[in-house]
C-alpha cells in the first residue's frame, strides 16, 4: 500500500515537472472566432509542442473584463473597447486577427432560403413582427409560402461582441432600434430567449422550431443551418461569404488603433453585417517567456494562420491590415524590449 502511494506520488511529481517545461498561456473571450482559434491553437501546438495556449470562449464581454483584470494573458473580443474600457486597461492593444460575418439563422422545416430586409429584421428583434407569415416577411419572399408559426427570437445572454456587431448594424438601419435597445455587447432585449455564447444561440435555434437567431457564419455552416440573404447598403441582396465579407473591409481605412466598424458598408457585393475580431494584449508584456511566445504566436496567426481562415468561412485580413499589424507587433515589447523587430 505504501509502495503504491510512493509510486503514485512520484509519477505525479514527474508529470508535474515535465509539464513545468511547457509554457501555458491562458486566454479568454470571444466565441465569434472560436472555431478558427481552436484550430489555430491546436495547429500551433503541433508545430511548437512547448507552447500550450488555453483559450476559453466565454464571450467578448468576458474577454474584455478578464484582460482588464489581468487574470488572463490575452483577451479576445469582436467589440472594440470603448474609451471608458480603454482607460481601465492602460496599455492595451487591439490586434485584428480575421474577419467574419454575423448571419441570421432560423428553424423552419421546409424553408431553406429567406430574404430579410433590414427594417424587417429590426422589427422582429423589437418584438413587433411575431409571426413568420407577417406581410413584411412575405413581401420579400413572394415565392415562398411562409407558415403562421410564431417567431421565437434568440439572442445572447452573455456580453457579446457578436451582439455588438449585430446591434451596431440594427442601430444603423433602424432609428427605433437605435433609440431603444441601441448598440452594445449587452442590450435590453425586448423579446426572446437568451443563449450563452454563439454556441448557445445556435443550439437554441437548432432545437426550437420557429426560432430565429444571429450567429457567426462558422457556427451556421458547422451546424448546417441556412443563412438569410440580407439587403445591403446599396440595395443588393447578399449572402454571407468570404468574398462579401472581404468586400466590406475594402472601402474602409483602418484607423491606427484598429477600432472600426464595417457594418452596412457601401458596395454592390458587400455583406452588411461583417466585422473584424481582435486579440487584446498589453503593449508591454511583463512575463518574459509568455510574452515572447505570445507575440510570436500572433505573428504566426497574422501570416500562416490566415490560410486556415477560408476553410472555416472566415475572411483573411486584407494585406494592408496585415502590414499595419506587423508594424504594431514590432513596436510591442517584452519587459521593455521589442522582440519582433527583425521579423519578416
Amino acid at each position: 500500500m505504501k509502495k503504491t502511494i510512493l509510486i503514485a506520488g512520484l509519477a505525479l511529481a514527474i508529470s508535474g515537472a515535465a509539464s513545468a517545461d511547457k509554457l501555458l498561456i491562458n486566454g479568454a473571450g470571444a466565441t465569434f472566432p472560436f472555431p478558427l482559434y481552436s484550430k489555430w491553437f491546436s495547429e500551433y501546438n503541433k508545430s511548437f509542442p512547448d507552447v500550450r495556449i488555453n483559450y476559453q470562449s466565454i464571450g467578448s464581454g468576458g474577454g474584455i473584463k478578464q484582460i482588464t483584470e489581468r487574470t488572463v494573458d490575452f483577451g479576445a473580443s469582436d467589440a472594440p473597447l470603448t474609451d471608458e474600457q480603454m482607460a481601465k486597461a492602460e496599455g492595451i492593444q487591439h490586434i485584428p486577427t480575421v474577419m467574419g460575418a454575423v448571419v441570421v439563422v432560423w428553424n423552419l422545416p421546409g424553408v431553406d432560403e429567406l430574404r430579410i430586409a433590414p427594417e424587417t429584421l429590426a422589427g422582429i428583434y423589437l418584438g413587433k413582427i411575431t409571426k413568420w407569415n407577417d406581410p413584411a416577411l412575405q413581401k420579400d419572399n413572394a415565392s415562398l409560402k411562409l407558415p403562421a408559426t410564431a417567431i421565437t427570437v434568440a439572442h445572447r445572454s452573455d456580453g457579446s461582441g457578436t451582439t455588438n456587431i449585430f446591434t451596431d448594424f440594427l442601430s444603423k438601419v433602424s432609428p427605433e432600434w437605435k433609440a431603444g435597445p441601441g448598440k452594445g455587447t449587452s442590450v435590453n432585449w425586448p423579446a426572446g430567449l437568451g443563449g450563452k455564447g454563439n454556441e448557445g444561440v445556435t443550439g437554441v435555434v437548432k432545437q426550437t422550431e420557429g426560432a430565429i437567431g444571429y450567429v457567426e457564419l462558422a457556427y451556421a455552416d458547422q451546424n448546417k443551418l441556412p443563412t438569410a440573404t440580407l439587403r445591403n447598403h446599396d440595395g443588393q441582396w447578399v449572402k454571407a461569404s468570404m468574398e462579401s465579407v472581404s468586400a466590406a473591409a475594402a472601402g474602409t481605412a483602418m484607423p491606427d488603433d484598429y477600432r472600426v466598424s464595417i457594418t452596412d458598408q457601401p458596395g454592390p457585393k458587400t455583406y452588411p453585417i461583417a466585422a473584424f475580431t481582435y486579440l487584446l494584449v498589453y503593449r508591454d508584456q511583463q512575463d518574459v517567456a509568455k510574452g515572447d511566445a505570445l507575440l510570436k504566436f500572433i505573428w504566426w496567426a497574422e501570416h500562416d494562420g490566415q490560410k486556415d481562415a477560408a476553410a472555416l468561412d472566415y475572411a483573411p485580413l486584407p494585406g494592408s491590415v496585415v502590414h499595419k499589424v506587423e508594424q504594431t507587433l514590432k513596436r510591442m515589447t517584452v519587459n521593455g524590449k521589442p522582440v519582433l523587430a527583425s521579423s519578416k
Binding site: 466565454i58 464571450g59 467578448s60 464581454g61 468576458g62 474577454g63 474584455i64 473584463k65 478578464q66 482588464t68 474600457q85 481601465k88 410564431a150 421565437t152 445572454s157 452573455d158 456580453g159 441601441g182 452594445g184 455587447t185 449587452s186 442590450v187 435590453n188 432585449w189 423579446a191 426572446g192 430567449l193 437568451g194 443563449g195 450563452k196 437554441v204 432545437q207 426550437t208 420557429g210 426560432a211
Partner: protein
Amino acid sequence: MESPSSLPASDLTLAAGEPGRAPEAAPARVNLPDRAWAVLLTALGLGVLLVAAVIVGELWRIGAPAISHTGLKDFVTRSTWDPTRDIFGAAPYIYGTLVTSAVALVIALPISIGLALFLTEMAPPSVRSVVTFPIALLAGIPSVVYGLWGLFVLVPVLRNRAEPFLQRTLGFLPLFQGAPIGLGYLAAGVILAIMILPTITSISIEVLQTVPGSLREAALALGATRWEAIRLAVVPYARAGIVGATMLGLGRALGETMAVTMLIGNSPTIRASLFAPGYSLPAVIANEFAEATGALHTGALAALGLLLFAVTVLLNVVARLLVRLSRRGPARVRA
C-alpha cells in the same frame, strides 16, 4: 470536556468510589500539548466564523455601492436591467426565482409527502429500506447532469406534448398561453421539483418516524382507517416538521444554478405565462459575472448574491428550527 485536575474534589471522590479520600494534588506545570490542542480546536471553530464573515463581508463590500446607486426599493422593484447604462432593476430575476420555485413546490410537495407517508405508514419496512436508496441517488445527481437531461428529454416533451396539451385544456388561464418552446419557467420549475423531491421526502420521513406509535395506535384503536389515523393523528403531530422540510426544499430550489440556467431561457422579462422564457437570480449571476466590467455591474450581481444568500439562510434557519421543534413534541407552531 474537563481534565481530571480541574474537577472539584468531591466529584472526583465520588467517581473514585471511595468517599472521604482526598484526590492527589493537580500537577503544577501547564500541560502544553493539551493547551495547544484546545487552541487548535478553538481556532478551527473560529475559522468557520471567519469564513462566514468573509463571505458576507465581501458581498457587502462589493454590493453596497450598487444598491446605494440604485436605491434598494428600485433595485428590487424595477424591471430594467441595463448594465451599459448603469440601470439595475432586479425584479425579473426575483420574479423568475419565485415563479420557478413555486412551480417546483406545487409539483414536488404532494409527491414528496405522499411518498414519505407511503414509505413510513403504508408500505412494509422492507420497501422503505429498498426505496431510500433510489431517493438518495436522486439527491446525489449533480445539477449539470439534471440540466443535460432536462435539455434533451424534458424540453422536447414539454414543447411537443405537455405544453400544447396544457394549452388545449387550460389555455383560458394566462398561465398557459403563448407559444410552447419548451424552455422557460415551466421547464425550470419541473426540473427543480425533481431536484428538491429527495430533500423534502427524506426529511419528512425523518419527521414522521419520530411520531410516537401510541398516537397512531390510539387512533386505530378507536376505529379509524389507516388514512384517517394518518390524517388525524400523525400529520398534525408532524406538521411543523413537514413545513420545515418544505422550507429546506424551497431553500435548495432558490439557490439552484446550473439546471435552471440551462432550461429557463435566460430572458430578463416578466411574463405571466409559464411557457415564457425567464431568468433567475443564480442564472443571471452565472451568465454575467465573468464579464461584468465596472464596479457597479459587478456590485449589482454581488448584491443579487447577497439577497439570495439572505433569503436562503433565513429559510434554512427557520426550517431547521421547525424540524427540531417537531421532534420534541406535538406541533405547537401554527405553520
